[in-house]
Every structure is written in structure tokens, then in C-alpha cells.
């Protein structure tokens, strides 16, 4: 309660909370619940994947051959690095190291750009080869009758993931700007923490997508 009183005039404290601690706990619980909804949403696609992989394992093996595992592995490393810099960013925000915090966040953002750039090259290569989802599939060398469905999964899963990467990058840009204005300190760093958690989830989902799509053969 002593902290509550000393910060009762803190502009970061919303009127309906008693202390920054209480506000932080609420925000963190909220972010974790939101992450649970994200996992469940991706969960639908993973369940679909498991079912059809059970039905047509050869189709998935053939599909994976069309992907370049080196690009996928590079992207995995890029995201792992970005998760590290994100975690450092949170750490620096907590310890009042503004410059380092901003740098870490900017590197995280750039990793996001690198990820999307590689993804762009992968996508354009697939489009060029006619390896497209469902009825747009036009590759003539396909052996398995339903290969189109592999690319349905590929594009739905990586597409939904990429949209989360973009959302995460917007959020990182937002906290980076706020960090550069010196709005975070050891008493108030909730937004960095929340965005960090989200970014780790985005990374984590990719870590599952990579073997399931690229290495499954």
C-alpha cells in the first residue's frame, strides 16, 4: 500500500486501480488470456493439419519438398534472435536503460522486417511455380492428387502467422517510440512487457510451423 500512496499522482495509473502493482497484474493477466485465445485460434489450424496429415502423409511429404528448409531455418534463427532482443528490451526498460531499450526494440523490429522479406521471396517463388492453395493450384508436376491442400495449409498457417508478425511489428514500433520518449521506467513498463509476451508467442508458433511444414517429409 505504501507504493500505492506514493504514486497516487502517477499519470500512468488509471483511476480505477489502487496501485501500479495492481494495474500491472491486471494487464499481465489480460495479455496471458489474450495469448491463450491466440493459441486456440492457431490450434484450429493445427488440428486440421493433424487430421489431414493422418489421411495423406505422402501429400505432406511431397509438399515439404517444394519448400526450401534453409530459408525456413534462417527465419527460425531470425525470430529466435528477435525474441532475445525483445527480452533484453524488457529487461532494459525495467532497469531504466532507455537507450539500450530503444536499440533492442529497433533490432527486434528489423528482425521482423527480415523475416517478412524472406517470406516474401518464398511466397513469390511458390506463386511462380503455381504452388497455390486450393483451386488456384496450377503446378503440373504434382504427384499427389490433393497437393493443393498442402499449400492451402501452408498459406493459411504461414499467412495467419505473418499477419501476427506484422501486428507484432506495429506494436513494437509503438513501444519503441514511447520508450524513446522516456515513458518507461522500473515502475512502469507494462506495455513493453505485454508486447514482449505477444512477440514471444509469435516466435513460438513459428517454431512449431517450421518443422510441421518444412521438415515433415
Amino acid at each position: 500500500m505504501s507504493t500505492a500512496n506514493s504514486h497516487s499522482h502517477n499519470s500512468n495509473l488509471a483511476h480505477h486501480f489502487k496501485s501500479l502493482d495492481q494495474q500491472f497484474d491486471a494487464a499481465k493477466l489480460g495479455v496471458w488470456l489474450f495469448l491463450a485465445t491466440e493459441i486456440l485460434m492457431f490450434g484450429g489450424l493445427f488440428v486440421g493439419y493433424i487430421i489431414f496429415h493422418g489421411l495423406y502423409p505422402e501429400m505432406f511429404a511431397e509438399g515439404a519438398k517444394h519448400l526450401d528448409w534453409r530459408l525456413g531455418a534462417t527465419n527460425t534463427l531470425v525470430l529466435l534472435l528477435s525474441s532475445f532482443t525483445m527480452a533484453s528490451g524488457v529487461q532494459y526498460a525495467q532497469t531504466n536503460q532507455k537507450k539500450k531499450c530503444v536499440t533492442a526494440l529497433v533490432i527486434t523490429f528489423l528482425c521482423g522486417c527480415a523475416f517478412l522479406l524472406i517470406k516474401y521471396f518464398e511466397y513469390s517463388h511458390k506463386i511462380h511455380d503455381g504452388l497455390l492453395p486450393g483451386k488456384f493450384f496450377s503446378n503440373h508436376e504434382a504427384e499427389h492428387a490433393n497437393l493443393a491442400m498442402y499449400f492451402s495449409f501452408y498459406f493459411c498457417m504461414t499467412g495467419l502467422h505473418a499477419s501476427h508478425v506484422i501486428a507484432g511489428m506495429c506494436l513494437i514500433a509503438w513501444v519503441a517510440v514511447r520508450a524513446s520518449k522516456g515513458q518507461f521506467n522500473s515502475e512502469f513498463y507494462t506495455p513493453v512487457e505485454g508486447v514482449g509476451l505477444f512477440w514471444h508467442l509469435v516466435d513460438l508458433i513459428w517454431i512449431y510451423l517450421f518443422p510441421l511444414l518444412y521438415l515433415v517429409g
Binding site: 480505477h16 491486471a26 489480460g30 486456440l40 489431414f52 486450393g134 491442400m149 492451402s152
Partner: protein
Amino acid sequence: MATAQVVSEKNYLNESKGLWSWLTTLDHKRIGLLYMVAVLTFFLLGGLFAMLLRVELFAPGKTIMDASQYNQVMTLHGTIMVFMVIIPGIPAFLGNFILPLHIGAKDVAFPRINLLSWYCLITGASIAFFSLFKNGVDTGWTFYTPYSIQTSNGTTFVVLGAFVMGFSSILTGLNFIVTIHTLRAPGMSFWRLPLFVWALYSTAVIQVLATPILAITLLLIAAERLLGIGIFDPKLGGDPVLFEHFFWFYSHPAVYIMILPAMGVVSELITAFSHKTIFGYKAIAMSSIGIAAVSFFVWGHHLFVAGQSEVAGIVFSFITMLVGVPTAIKTFNWIATLYKGSIQFQSPMLFALGFLFLFTIGGVTGIILATIGVDVHFHDTYFVVAHFHYVMVGGTLMAIMGGIYYWFPKIFGRMYNEFWARVTFVLIFVGFNVTFYPQFVLGSMGMPRRYYDYLPEYTSLNRISSVGAWTIGTGFLIALFVIIHGLLKGKKAEMNPWGAKTLEWTTSSPPPHENFINEPIVTAGPYEYR
């Protein structure tokens, strides 16, 4: 009385003025009222379509619309009532208003997200309405593949509209869970939470855990329509039954999103108007959690005849019957609360008793339908229609009406007209049974649901059903006038007109901006009557 009037001069209603102050409000009470306006408007529309359906079914053959119009009106009725009325109805409207008051908080944990969730509902509903009206969507509210992939262009937008409305539901649930965990007043332990809060908590868990599955399912339908991804399309190796699994994995728990908060309201009403401590508080609280937990494992009972394996069918049948246990625990505890209580038959109590009666019929017919052998006969007949209307209308809408009358003095600081409120109860209750009881009979005679036309031998029962529907419609219209009349002309309400014991009755009617002048300190349970 004097103090109450002094306090009520400045309250959340007159805190700031103008439409803009309402559309940008962060006060949970005002957001609750925004939901009320939205939900009542949608309810009026959905009800109007129900009336049209019953006019069409008054006689065999064409009466006022053709078959494809009938399918569209049926889709409108279902989509509106499920996604825009019953799901947001109690949690987002009454829950938003009452939850922080019940736990002694100043607001919900995330007021901005609370407002955002209202805008999600409005945006999603607008998208859905636009295409429902413009393109005439005819899939029913379940969007079953493969039909939903082949039919009119509007389906994509309706699906995306439902997707956006799903966010509204998720955000509300998330907000409530965090609020209940972090913002309880000093002394408000979990075992002192009012049962309405327990019900909202269980509901919120389902909203947060089930709705994302709907989100991905709807996105896949949209992708299926736009890109032909083939996951639900047998021509491309996909499986339409997978859609049914995905859809019901959300939509069956969603049934409990609809009914659990209603049970919470009824718990409040029964104890308040029996003036007696609720019987089996912990059992009722835990049974809410129990229903929420079991709700995730029963979806397969929608697929008994969809080619699901026999073993799966038997397991789902058994688990479905299990839902009856926590539900019965609640019902018996409510009845035990009535026993030797000082019962007052005010209109909220009438609705609560109506709920007990109708919901029990709805629940028990649910057990009948959970029995596989019987379901093979009843599947897709009017028996099912009657069953879920007994739960959704006889349960949830009765509770909403009871809840509106019960909290009306707190929300608006005015009383409604008790006589006419009782008239609405009689009309709705009688009309409801006249409408839906014959549908049990029609269903057992084999009349299929969703059909535009029927055999001549079903005519008389359908006529009775239609007359009943118009009686309900009249009842709800009168209820609307009771509400408007109470708003404009009602006499000033006291702080606690019912003599109830929960925290919201310890603040003025209507409450001030931050709910309580001084933060309440809780020293006893919520229902310390005698």
C-alpha cells in the same frame, strides 16, 4: 430518502451530457447501457423475423413469402438472435453494469477494451446486416459446408461479421476474468462473490477459450469461399464434417455462454425475493464451473447422424447427460431456497419462477435428445427446435427480463409499473408454452425443422404455435413500453427497493460515476438474510 436524493443529483447518467459523451464513454455502466440499446434493437428485429416466420407457417403452402425468402428470414432470425442478442445479452449488458458493482470495484479492469468490444459488436453486426439484407443469405446461422461455400456472395460478409462480433465476446470475457481476479473490494473473497459473478466468471472462461475456435473456423469458411482452399471440400480431398466438428466445438460451449449468466441472474432473483440465504451457495458456484468444464466435451452430440463413429457417439452421449448433473444441482438448490422463504411475487420473481419451469422442460428434453437412439428419430425435427427454444427463450430471455426489472431501479433510479410488468410475464409465459409445446408434438410426429412447407395434418398444431408466437410478441412489446414508461414517468427508486443484500444495493440509485462514494469493505457473504 433525503440522502438518496442528494446523492442522485450527481450520478453516472448526468455526469456528462450529449451523444458524444455516450459514444466515447469508458464507464462500465454507460457501456452496459450502450449494449442494452444495441441488444434490444437487435432483439426487436430478430423478434420481428420470428413473427414473420410464424405467419408463413400459419398455413401450409405459400402464405406471405416464397421458399427462398423463408430461408433468408430464418437465417436472419437465427443469426441475429444467437450472435447479437443472446450471446451479448446478459454478460455484456447486465454483466457489464452489475459486475463491478457486485465486487465493489470502480470499473472493469480495461475500460477502453470494454468500449472497443461494443464497437466490435456494432461493426460486426453492421457488416452482417449489410449482406444479410443486400444479398439474402440463406445458410441458417450454422453456415454448414458445403452449402455455405456454394451459396450467395453475402455469406462471406456474414461470416466475417460474425468473426468481428466474436472479438467483442472474447474481449468482454477477458475483461471480466481479469476484473474478478484483480479488482475485488477488500474482504471480497471468492466465497463471498455473488453467484451472478460466479456465473459470469464461468461464462467468461468459455468465451475466452471457445470463441477463438469459431474465429478460425469462420476465417476458413471465408478462405474456402475466396481461395477454394478445399479443407472442407471433398472434391479437393477435404471433409465437410470437419467443419461441423470445428463449428460445434465453439457453438456448443456457446450454448452455455447463453445459459450460464441466466442461471446467475436467477440465483440473485430467487434469493432476493425469498428473503432467505441461498441454499447451497458453494454447490451453485461450483456447478457453474462444472458446466463450463463439461461444455467443451459434448459437441459431438450434434453429429450423431453425421457419420461419427459409434464409440464417439456413445461417449458424447454419456458426457452430454453429465451436464444434467450440475444443472440439476442448481435447480434443486433454487427450489430449496424457496422452501420456507418469505416469497414475494414481484415481476422479477415471476420471471425467475418461469425460468425454473421452462428451463427444466428444456433441460430434460435435452437429456432425451442426448440419447442416441432417440436422437436418430428426433434429429432435425421440430422437437429439437422446441427443446432449444425452451432453453434459450424459456431460460435466457426469461432471465434477461427478470434481470432488467430487478436492476431497473438501480440502473435508471426509477421504478417501472409493476402491474404491466406482471402482464408482460403472463403474456410471455403463456404465449411461450402455447408456441413451443405443440412443437414438441410436431417434432415427435416427424415434422422436419427448417422446412418452408409442411403436410396438411400438421396444420392445426402449427396454427396454435403461431398464435402463441404472436402472444409472446405482444408481451415483449408491452415490456418495451413498460421500460420506456418507467424511464420517463417512473417514480424515484430508493437505494434498495427489494431489500436485497448484494453490494450494488448499498450505493445510490443510480450509482455515482465511480460506483461507491467510499470503497466498500466486505465482512460477510452476499446473501445474509436469515
